[in-house]
Symmetry: C2
Subunit: 131 residues, 2 copies
């Protein structure tokens, strides 16, 4: 791997999972996917760009909601097939109005909301999905 | 989603990405995958169990290396197709001997090691892979 310069998009059918983590609080905000084009634009612009599997197109995070992610640092894992972004999150990462998409904890076989809703989802016009 | 009780294994072909995060330091340690059986055993035993895509079988994290993950909490994302584990990591999460698999940062188009190697990989007998 010594000649690697970034994620290996020859893996996983060219679509790699990307984890976004808040650079300040270290909260894990969301997981989405990047293809090579999304990754290149992320590096070039300093804003997180994903590939939406449901819409089958680039998804510039916050393009409609305004909830952008300014990328502070990019890491790859040992296999170079997962990306970790340290980001500064504007507003809420989740289209349901929570800072993080992981706002529900599994407790005794039930899902319990453990976070505070920052925004009314009805006010987030673009119903962004991490899928 | 109000009747959901956990991850939705009808999605993603039954194989969901699972992010392991250090419960104390909030460092993101690794990303691997879980099928329903791996998830059920994780919940039952309190130790992280993944599904190895390369070996096509359950992968009880640390089964050979001893580098187990004690699970403190489990979260699911808004789509219930990604799992987040808060864990207490024994030793190194990465088979290359680093605490986290994300030990390399992308800096100006090159991969730079930014973490300290805790273990000699040659001493980790099971060359675990997150794939």
């Amino acid at each position: 791997m010594s000649d690697m310069t970034g994620p290996d998009f020859s893996r996983n059918g060219g679509l790699l999972p990307a984890v976004a983590q808040d650079a300040s609080t270290r909260e894990v905000l969301m997981l989405a996917y990047m293809n090579e084009e999304a990754y290149a634009e992320t590096v070039r612009t300093g804003r997180a760009v994903y590939y939406s599997r449901s819409r089958q197109r680039l998804w510039r995070k916050g393009e409609e909601s305004g909830h952008q992610q300014q990328v502070q640092a990019i890491f790859v894992d040992c296999d170079a097939d997962t990306i970790l972004l340290l980001v500064e999150q504007v507003g809420a990462a989740c289209h349901e109005g929570y800072k993080s998409c992981f706002f529900r904890q599994v407790v005794d076989g039930a899902l319990v909301v453990t976070a505070t809703q920052l925004k009314d989802p009805r006010e987030i016009y673009n119903q962004e999905s991490s899928s």
